[in-house]
């Protein structure tokens, strides 16, 4: 059983992890990145539409500033944005994005060679920088390149199993080395979790196979609460069936949403902003249209019409989605509308952290000494109850950088702790047990039951009785997993079935936090909509939820107020 050692360990090589690794090098020389997939396959590569920064490079955007960006983001977040965090995000946006430009991201340009910007929903000015509709690919590759230049160590296809904790300190990790088939240890002076999103928990999702919320499940098992998990963003335009995303950029460039009558139905739900209204409103508008039988041919999808856009726009600004429409919907978007429906897309919640990314142990703010979280896995409450498009890549890089620097400094000042062999043995034993599961229920069946459950009972519209049922059924699924699962693959090496089982275990660990958060929140706000409580209730609910798992495997919830007095408490990298 091998044990590796690095000053700083970063789990996850998406935009957040890769950016953190670069920043950390200002403090430590020895950084190790651990990723369950090759880092260049991380979900960040699939981000399409763009990344926001108030550069004001286009005519319409000249008056942009961090403050306007801040106000848009706060408005979009529907009362749950922590203002201090959002201020850091928007003040840091331009500088961090220009660094990406200097690192070589192939952003589209204006005729005179400046960075071009396009409109996106919820942003009052054109603010999205974009590399065609492959923005995430451009950013991830450039960040990876910087890591190559800095010669940071990368462990591809190592699956994080658990933290090795000692009180509020983390001494390292255990991981499953897919290729060798072994359990290995990593010792580090500090650790950053940048394990990405979790929307594979839903039956219809835009996210890739790896977005299974592993960091969230592992946090729960270590007694770390999860914040605001009831706020799951549904994206208006996924392809029916596969869920593949058609970026909001399509609407940013002028696309229409159309119902079966050929009508731009958003005029009923947000006549001013129409298709570029906030995502939660567009999704509810679509869902309402579908429910009143105005889906195309009465089915559960609508049309995204791009036929009036110029061929040049489709070719230069939306090439990927044009290709996706042709390959996966068999539609030439210059001639016919694309079928679309809402799908789960992004999680506003996650592992609660301080403004410097230190993981919190509870709602009242005790923190871990040297454990950090960043990117979609973390909850900084910059997006509040509803994220604006293009703000999450931004969060990944702005806070990735900031948190990477603090984690690096913490490692510089810290020391290595103990990583007992026994913890490796325990993991080895667990993997052996799991591999040998010989019940009657197949893995795929439990996973699809879980994903249908969340979709049907905790989807776009929620209500008490559905959520009550869901809360019971999730415990039943957890029991089925531990008692009745069967696996076919008994091998040690590259056992992808075993990996899926570990992912499912993590899903089953954090989904109860989503359900409980949604059940308790008796109001509607942002992405969380309760049919039985359709109004927003600021008197009672302008609070962040914290769900924690007790040792007995039960879940409890607690709350903390929103920090919404602008300017107060903003800490820079120096202090906390």
């Amino acid at each position: 059983m091998e044990i590796f050692e690095h000053d700083l360990l970063i789990v996850g090589g998406g935009a957040a992890g890769l950016r953190a690794a670069i920043a950390a090098r200002e403090h430590v020389d020895d950084v190790g990145i651990i990723s369950k997939v090759n880092v260049l396959r991380s979900h960040s590569v699939t981000a399409q539409g763009g990344i926001s920064a108030p550069l004001g490079n286009t005519g319409e955007g000249v008056d942009d500033s961090w403050r306007v960006h801040f106000e848009d983001t706060v408005r979009g977040g529907d009362g749950l944005v922590d203002h201090d965090a959002c201020e850091i995000l928007t003040k840091g946006a331009s500088g961090t994005v220009l660094e990406l430009d200097n690192m070589g991201v192939p952003f589209n340009r204006t005729e005179d060679g400046r960075l071009d910007q396009r409109p996106f929903g919820g942003h009052s000015l054109p603010r999205s920088l974009y590399a065609a509709d492959r923005t995430g690919h451009g950013i991830t590759y450039a960040l990876y390149g910087e890591n190559v230049r800095l010669d940071n160590a990368v462990y591809n296809e190592f699956f994080l199993l658990d933290l090795v904790a000692d009180g509020a300190r983390v001494n390292g990790l255990t991981a499953y080395n897919m290729k060798s088939g072994e359990v290995v240890g990593f010792r580090g002076k500090s650790v950053v979790l940048a394990t990405g999103g979790c929307t594979q928990a839903f039956a219809h999702t835009t996210s890739g196979a790896a977005s299974t919320g592993d960091g969230l499940g592992i946090a729960m098992r270590n007694g770390i609460p999860l914040e605001d998990m009831e706020f799951i963003q549904f994206h208006p335009t996924g392809l029916p069936g596969s869920g593949i995303l058609i970026s909001e950029a399509a609407r940013g460039e002028g696309g229409y949403l159309i119902n079966d009558d050929g009508e731009r139905f958003m005029k009923r739900y947000d006549p001013e902003k129409m298709e570029l209204s906030s995502r939660d409103r567009v999704v509810r508008g679509m869902q309402r249209e579908i429910e009143r039988g105005k889906g195309i041919d009465g089915e559960d999808y609508l049309h995204l019409d791009l036929t009036h856009l110029s061929r040049r726009t489709l070719e230069e600004k939306l090439p990927t989605i044009s290709q996706i429409a042709e390959d996966f919907a068999k539609v030439d978007p210059s001639e016919r509308p694309i079928p679309v429906r809402p799908t789960a897309h992004y999680c506003m919640g996650g592992i609660p952290v301080t403004l410097n990314g230190r993981v919190k142990g509870s709602s009242w703010g005790n923190t871990w000494d040297n454990l950090f979280a960043a990117g979609e896995a973390a909850c900084l409450s910059v997006h509040g109850a509803n994220r604006l498009g293009t703000n999450s890549l931004l969060e990944a890089v702005v806070f990735g950088k900031r948190i990477g620097a603090v984690a690096g400094r913490t490692a510089e000042e810290g020391s290595f702790g103990k990583l007992p062999r026994e913890t490796l043995n325990q993991q080895e034993k667990y993997l052996t047990e799991l591999r040998e599961k010989d019940g009657t229920v197949r893995l795929g069946e439990i996973k699809s039951r879980l994903r249908e459950l969340t979709w049907n009972k905790c989807g776009v519209f929620r209500n008490q009785s559905d959520l009550e049922e869901a809360n019971d059924e999730i415990y039943e699924l957890r029991r089925t997993f531990s008692e009745e699962l069967t696996l076919d693959d008994r091998g040690c090496k590259f056992n992808t079935e075993l990996r899926s089982a570990l992912e499912l275990r993590n899903l089953l660990e954090f989904v109860p936090a989503v359900l409980l958060g949604a059940y308790k929140r008796t109001e509607s706000r942002g992405a969380h909509y309760r049919e039985d409580y359709p109004e927003k209730d600021d008197g009672n609910w302008a609070v962040h939820s914290y769900v924690v798992r007790t040792n007995e495997g039960r879940y409890g919830v607690d709350y903390r107020p929103v920090r919404n007095d602008t300017g107060r408490g903003t800490t820079d990298e120096g202090g906390e």
Binding site: V37, T46, L98, R134, R442, F494, E497
Partner: protein, 240 residues
Amino acid sequence: MKVTFRISRYDPETNEGSYVEDFLLEVEEYELTEVTVLDALVEIKEDQDGSLTFRHGCGHGSCGSCAVLINEKNRLACETHLDDLELDEKTVVEVSSLPGFPTIKDLVVDMDNFFRNDRLARPFISGEDERSGPTETEQTPGELRRILEATECINCGACTASCPTYWENEGYLGPAALVRAYRWMEDSRNSEIEERLAALDDEKDGVWGCNKFFNCLEACPKEIDTVGIIEALKRSVITS
């Protein structure tokens, strides 16, 4: 109709060596345009044999995880619909791991050397004004267009795995890494040129390793003009 998936299998933990196994899937005629080879692999894994091993990620041709050999051509499983395969009456889809790389298990290959070559291609901006930021750089749309095609590469490995020169010599950078070398060297923000060209000027491992078999051109799922890009690199090496 029943479609046969004839899959090459290899389990590193037994002494069986590699073998071929057939799996049958019932597919309706109208579904042929909808079902991809990846969908089929996922369904076989979930319903028939959980030990069937392959990589996948995004499901729509963006992450580069799923390249395999399908009916004698390297392709992305997620972008290959059954009707792309012109199934004859036999309706057999043959799937095996990419050639040219060692197989780890079933359809999963070891790409360590491929990514080592990618690192050697220096996939980053460098030169005197290295990271002078954060000021905005200037790049004309024309300068961007020079590299745009090369930026589309998703490192799936389909091209390099099709290259007979690479099969013989894995020290040869191969088409993917050469495309990468071009993409970063030719970026107007990069000013390290001579050193990069010197590194590419190698009889066996650099640009001159390319014998123009053109396989890579046919294999690339993004239709990148790999050969044209390598030729451009050769010209730059000569004139430098």
